[in-house]
């Protein structure tokens, strides 16, 4: 019955790996059929394979401070927003190695776009003079000739909230303003002493705002939290707390003392980031101590987002371009094609060599490599969909190198089986004994590879990372394949007549074992240790034992007593 359990367990393991593959196939099929964003059968390619421009930016902050991870995250979302706003198309903005920001954009950007990406974000406080819902104007709206209208205030405005700021031209601009159009030129810098017509960042409302009264760098801190009642009990309502420095405190104090008591909407002040209104709260009190609280229908998430935006504005980060790399789409194409051709040729050579060395077993190698390639492809497609992974040229190189390391697992395994055959064991027993030894070797050597991949991935940046990622992924898949596919298949083949008889094309050529020189029995020592017959281990052996071996021996000795 023992053979039957072996076969059954082998088949079960093969069905596991089939199941894993089927699961990912089903998942990606579901993703593409239901048109989930990003789901696709072809993995996204990185810039060096697809063509485009990659910028590496280092944040530069005044007075030499180091940008925190929070600020970098904030910077990433701001850069993304700016690029999207400039109509360049899909951009990929990521943080790298805790200090750099990498921007990948298709095509080559013009000088304006570059300027836009490099500029530091501007956070400003402006009083609201008027606002309205933005309604698309439609095709037949008559274009207004703004230049013909007067831009002179009828009376001199007495303060930033004064309706006198709204000139004839500004009013016409506001009336014809449509947030769904591209209303700001990329990188537009607004005059802080002039009123401004703009929209909120969701593009739902349009505003007329007065001149700038408080600037972002006067915010000393911003954080989100729940409101506490006067008795100190916490409520479930989220709010954003703001603290100003001395200059900000006095400026904000004079704003609130003027706005408080004005009719809506003039009791509101707008906070703008890069010219877009991120919030426009109304004033409920005169705040002279520099500590303000913005309340409203916040969720925990929206409160955190706003607090982060405010905090970012408190420390405006500009960016220095470290490198700008441009790859033409044709070169990317050629690289990918040559990489794949090289991989394929390499694979064919490997197969020929394996067939020469391992005869019938080479078909197991072919099967294993094909399944490994399929799994790697599925994982990469999956990660590209869920995690935004992009396959780079360095990644392709990692995959090609992986062919060698993966095939080595099979070689180590087959050689161990042959060693056992040379000791005169029957094929089925040789397969089991060889597997036990080979698996340990494969495990520890893969551990070395995997450690390399993880360390490189965590500690390095850019292309090294893409390489480390595929190296790590393929090492894991190698382990999966060899345990869940190669070994069970060999177990099943060992029961097959062609292989078990040691046919000369099977790769388990028994005549080789019989012909082998089996002189003075020098290997009994090693063989006996694994069979557990030597009860009293020498000091040397004890020193080299693994934990599992120690335990096994301990159990054996305990049983004797």
């Amino acid at each position: 019955m023992a053979e039957n359990t072996t076969a059954r367990s082998a088949r079960r393991r093969i069905s596991w790996i089939t199941g894993i593959a089927a699961f990912f196939v089903a998942l990606i099929t579901w993703g593409t059929v239901t048109a989930q964003p990003g789901a696709s059968w072809t993995p996204e390619l990185a810039l060096d394979l697809q063509g485009g421009t990659q910028l590496i930016l280092t944040p530069s902050i005044a007075d030499g401070q180091q940008a925190s991870l929070e600020q970098l995250n904030q910077a990433v979302s701001i850069i993304r927003q700016r690029i999207d706003g400039s109509g360049v198309g899909e951009a990929q903005v990521t943080i790298q190695g805790n200090e750099n920001i990498v921007v990948a954009i298709p095509g080559s950007p013009d000088a304006n776009t570059l300027q836009l990406i490099k500029a530091s974000a501007l956070l400003e406080f402006r009083p609201v003079i008027n606002f309205a819902q933005s309604i698309p104007l439609g095709e037949d709206a008559e274009p207004v000739d703004l230049e013909a209208l007067s831009d002179e205030p009828t009376t001199e405005p007495v303060n930033a909230s004064d309706a006198a700021w709204v000139t004839e031209r500004l009013l016409a601009e506001f009336d014809s303003f449509d947030c769904s159009t591209q209303f700001r030129t990329p990188g537009q810098v607004d005059d802080p002493s002039k009123p401004l017509v703009t929209c909120d960042d969701f593009l739902r409302f349009k505003y007329i705002l007065g001149p700038v009264e408080v600037r972002g760098e006067n915010i000393s801190d911003a954080f989100s939290g729940t409101i506490t009642t006067q008795t100190g009990a916490s409520t479930n309502t989220w709010a954003v707390n703001l603290e100003f420095d001395a200059e900000g405190t006095s400026a904000f104090g004079s704003v609130t003392s003027r706005l408080f008591g004005l009719p809506s909407p003039q009791n509101q002040f707008a906070i703008t980031l890069d010219g877009l209104v991120i919030t426009a709260p109304s004033t409920n009190a005169v705040i002279t101590n520099g500590q303000a609280q913005i309340t409203g229908s916040f969720t925990q998430e929206s409160a955190t987002v706003l607090a982060d935006q405010l905090k970012y504005g408190a420390l405006p980060i500009g960016f220095e371009v470290q490198s700008q790399e441009n790859i033409s789409a044709t070169l990317g194409d050629e690289s990918l094609r040559s990489g794949l051709i090289a991989g394929l040729i390499g694979l064919i050579f490997v197969m020929i060599y394996m067939a020469f060395q391992y005869r019938g077993l080479a078909s197991v190698v072919l099967g294993s490599l094909v399944i490994a390639a399929l799994l790697v492809y599925l994982f990469i497609a999956f990660l590209s969909w869920r995690q935004g992974y992009r396959l780079s040229l360095a990644g392709v190189a990692g995959l090609i190198v992986a062919i060698g390391i993966t095939a080595d697992s099979f070689i180590v395994y087959f050689e161990r089986i042959r060693d056992e055959l040379r000791d005169g064991r029957s094929l089925e027993i040789a397969v089991e004994a060889g597997w036990k030894r080979a698996f340990r070797t494969i495990l520890v050597s893969d551990a070395v590879s995997f450690t390399a991949a993880v360390v490189l991935y965590l500690l390095t940046s850019s292309s090294v990372r893409g390489f480390a990622f595929t190296l790590g992924l393929t090492t894991l898949i190698d382990l999966m394949i060899v345990t869940l596919f190669t070994h069970p298949v060999v177990q099943l083949l060992a029961r097959n007549k062609f292989f078990a008889s040691g046919h000369r094309f099977s790769g388990f050529d028994l005549s080789a074992a019989k012909a082998s020189y089996r002189g003075r029995g020098e290997f009994r020592v090693g063989a006996e240790v694994t069979s557990g017959k030597v009860r009293k281990a020498s000091k040397e052996a004890q020193k080299r034992q693994t934990i599992a071996e120690r335990k096994a021996r301990q159990a054996l000795e305990d049983g004797d007593e």
């Binding site: 470290q322 690289s335 050579f349 060599y353 190198v401 390391i405 893969d446 090294v464 020498s538 080299r544």
Partner: protein, 324 residues
């Protein structure tokens, strides 16, 4: 039956055996000469040829530049920026890569348009880029930190698994040899040192140790009961283990080198300078040297390091006495 398989049988039984451990002084001498050559060759050639990523500079790529001579690019650039050093290389089927020291924004735009004009292509087909001099240094610094951490972790892993720091030490010595040799060959061939080459070196690290671990695991298995052996000394047992894994070592290195070799071949032939070619050269050399050093250096060094241990010494004296 193939000769190779017969050799495998003979190596396994010890009927035939190559003396890797016994002739250790010869292998040490060869390694020392190779290392000295690998260090002096780059010095003679005037140091490593660092790529633009390490030097910093401006780069222009002219797409579809047809068959116009490369000197045209040099002339064009020098008309705008006189006296500047210009490096031109063909990349891919029809691209031309023009590198200079870092130019001013205005200059580089002028050069871009002039190149488009000279090569008769649309200005959009000439891409200009630049790399700050810190970029490559940053990558290398991070890679070195990664290298340090990795070596520490793997040494611990090996010391823990093999229960012997001497295996870690032997493996690291062999690794150092591999890296120096590969770097020497890389410099000797005169390829540019690019971030891709750095990746290649990091992989050799992983591969060289990986290969040594496979050999050492067999050594560990064979020497478990070495003190009880009456027939072989510790050194002979290590040597047998290396011989027994020799077929595997050869097979593995062939299998690892085949794909890498095809990248190197296709990379240099079709693509010219680039990521694939740079990685492949480092790997090609590193794989071969890595396999070589596991056999000819790591194992003898390990046997050497342990030969002074009292118990092993006594055991081998007993074995040798028994033979007389």
């Amino acid at each position: 039956m193939s000769k190779f398989r017969k050799l495998g049988n003979q190596l396994y039984s010890g009927e035939r055996s190559f003396d890797f451990v016994g002739k250790k002084r010869l292998w040490y001498a060869i390694a020392a000469v190779a290392v000295i050559l690998a260090v002096s060759l780059p010095i003679l050639r005037g140091g490593f040829n660092f790529g633009i990523e390490f030097r910093g500079g401006s780069e222009f790529r002219v797409s579809n530049s047809q068959d116009l001579p490369q000197s045209l690019a040099v002339e064009t650039v020098n008309e705008i920026v006189p006296g500047v050093q210009v490096n031109v290389a063909a990349v891919g089927f029809s691209d031309l890569r023009v590198q200079t020291e870092q130019l001013q924004d205005l200059e580089s735009e002028e050069v871009r348009l002039a190149l488009a004009d000279a090569f008769g292509v649309d200005p959009a087909e000439v891409a200009s880029s630049f790399v700050g001099p810190n970029w490559g240094a940053d990558v290398t610094r991070q890679a070195l930190i990664g290298l340090g951490v990795f070596l520490l972790l793997v040494s611990l892993l090996m010391a823990f698994y093999f229960r012997s720091w001497k295996m870690s030490a032997a493996a690291l010595l062999a690794l150092a040899h591999d890296l120096v040799l590969t770097a020497g060959v890389y410099a000797g061939v005169g390829f540019e040192v690019t971030p891709a080459a750095v990746i290649g070196f990091l992989t050799i690290l992983a591969y060289s140790l990986y290969d040594t671990v496979v050999v050492f695991d067999k050594v560990r298995e064979n020497t478990l009961e070495i003190e009880l052996s009456d027939t072989r000394t510790f050194g002979e047992m290590v040597n047998l283990a290396v011989n027994q894994t020799l077929v595997r070592s050869i097979n593995t290195s062939v299998v690892a080198v085949l794909p890498v070799g095809s990248i190197l071949f296709i990379g240099s032939l079709i693509l010219g300078a680039g990521t694939l070619r740079d990685i492949a050269l480092a790997l090609f050399v590193g794989t071969i040297v890595g396999t070589y050093s596991s056999i000819f250096l790591a194992a003898p060094i390990y046997a050497h390091l342990r030969s002074g241990e009292k118990e092993l010494k006594e055991a081998s004296e007993r074995v040798l006495a028994g033979r007389e």
